[in-house]
Assembly symmetry: C2
Homo-oligomer: 271 residues x 2
């Protein structure tokens, strides 16, 4: 039996889908079809969504699950008239929140992921540019960085830096340990002064070899022997320098980012 | 009066914070302090969280709001013993879902943002590398791209491509319109064949000048006159070519990404 999940929203549907994925993850035994319906801004769009939901009901011969994050009550009620089982974010929590805060909500459609604060949004773009332009390890602007990720080539530094920039507006620089660093078993002098904001990323040699192999097939760089050597040396170096280290092999960039920010006590609001 | 919002989770706290932001956005009149407490994986960690929540209650002289996405009922009950007003994702929706699906949940701690599917995760990393290496407009690998963003320099193409890669595993290439393209009022020949996967990004000239000014102060490139000219020409060119265009000036990268994916009918599951 196949079941369909709908993520219905007056905005990007990111909240709806995030919520849905958290709930889905608790039912790994079921295979879901997932349909995103963003920007449902009026009743016509809602009626279109209802058509899709009802069609899925017919096809699946089972009620679709609908995660609804539409703010407007009128538009939302159209979704509730569908044949789906509707889980409703605002209808569920807003009253509790209104009571707790003692003020009325000021419903704004699709603003969760809109630009609310222009200056803060600039920080985000600046951080992203920073991550992009400080990805070679050759920059000397480590001073400006909120944090510096250190590790061997292909240990996950770049995507993690980009993620942290895009999601937390954090300026994350990235320094790939060189063979020289590893031979001398120490961080380069220009990095030492920033030790308090350095975090190490570590990866299993087998996995590293796999990743490198897709980049440079049959190279020394991608050989298991070379990967083992680099990882072992990097691990010793970072331990010697007293730098916190995170294993990335089985972690998503969300998990690595969240752990790194916690480690350094960076409490930036998420975008 | 200041109020504190806690995002408490056994994983990254991304679901909790996303949910919280959606609810917060409905009360723009209140200034909230926000505290993220991720990786609450046992009762000790939960007790630590409770201490923080209760301390905020004392400081604020008002109940903190707690968005709780801890899966385990025992650990979760510790959070519920705090002085905060606890909005609970799983306690609220899981029973409805269990009934609807007719199966028991298999609670897994902190897995929403874990790596669930290795092959799919690879796609994400590949897409991110693709976005990084196809950011110069000089690559000829447009064939492999799921979509191509076209626009003048600094119209928002790069961060949008990165966002789509990281969040939807979409291979997004990026082609900056050159002065030659604009003078000849047409897309370069090598792009024409990919028209069905091209989307244009447009930006207000005043905003563009501002952004460019921070990159190259007092340059012709950043002058309002030049920005006006490029934007006008780009608009005509894209209209002539019949390419869909999105305004980025007042849109976040989440909004642009969601609209672009909708436009092209790309229904990729979100990471």
């Amino acid at each position: 039996m196949s079941r369909t999940f709908f993520f219905v929203s007056d905005g990007t549907a990111i909240t709806s889908e995030t919520l849905g994925h958290a709930l889905l993850a608790q039912f790994p035994q079921i295979k879901f079809k997932q349909v995103r319906i963003p920007f449902v801004g009026d009743e016509d769009a809602a009626l279109e969504a209802v058509k899709q939901i009802n069609a899925a009901n017919k096809t699946d011969k089972a009620s679709p699950i609908v995660i609804n994050t539409i703010v407007d009550k009128e538009i939302s009620s159209v979704i509730h008239s569908s044949e789906g089982i509707v889980l409703d974010l605002f209808a569920t929590f807003q009253d509790t929140l209104e009571q707790a805060l003692g003020v009325k909500p000021q419903p704004t459609i699709g603003r969760t992921f809109g630009i609310k604060d222009f200056a803060r949004y600039e920080e985000r773009m600046e951080a992203t540019n920073f991550a992009l332009s400080h990805d070679d390890g050759e920059s000397i602007e480590f001073e400006q960085a909120d944090l510096i990720l250190v590790g061997v080539s292909r240990s996950g530094k770049t995507p993690t830096c980009l993620y942290m920039a895009l999601h937390y507006g954090v300026k994350a620089a990235n320094y790939p340990l060189t063979e020289d660093d590893l031979d001398e078993m120490r961080l380069p002098v220009f990095l030492k002064r920033y030790k308090r904001k350095i975090v190490g990323l570590m990866i299993e040699p087998g996995r590293l070899a796999q990743i490198r192999e897709t980049r440079k097939p049959n190279s020394r760089y991608a050989s298991l022997r070379q990967c083992h050597k680099e990882v072992d040396l990097a691990e010793s170096l970072l331990r010697t320098e007293g730098i916190a280290v995170f294993q990335t092999t089985h972690c998503s960039i969300e998990e690595i980012s969240s752990r790194v920010l916690s480690e350094l006590g960076l409490q930036r609001e998420m975008f």
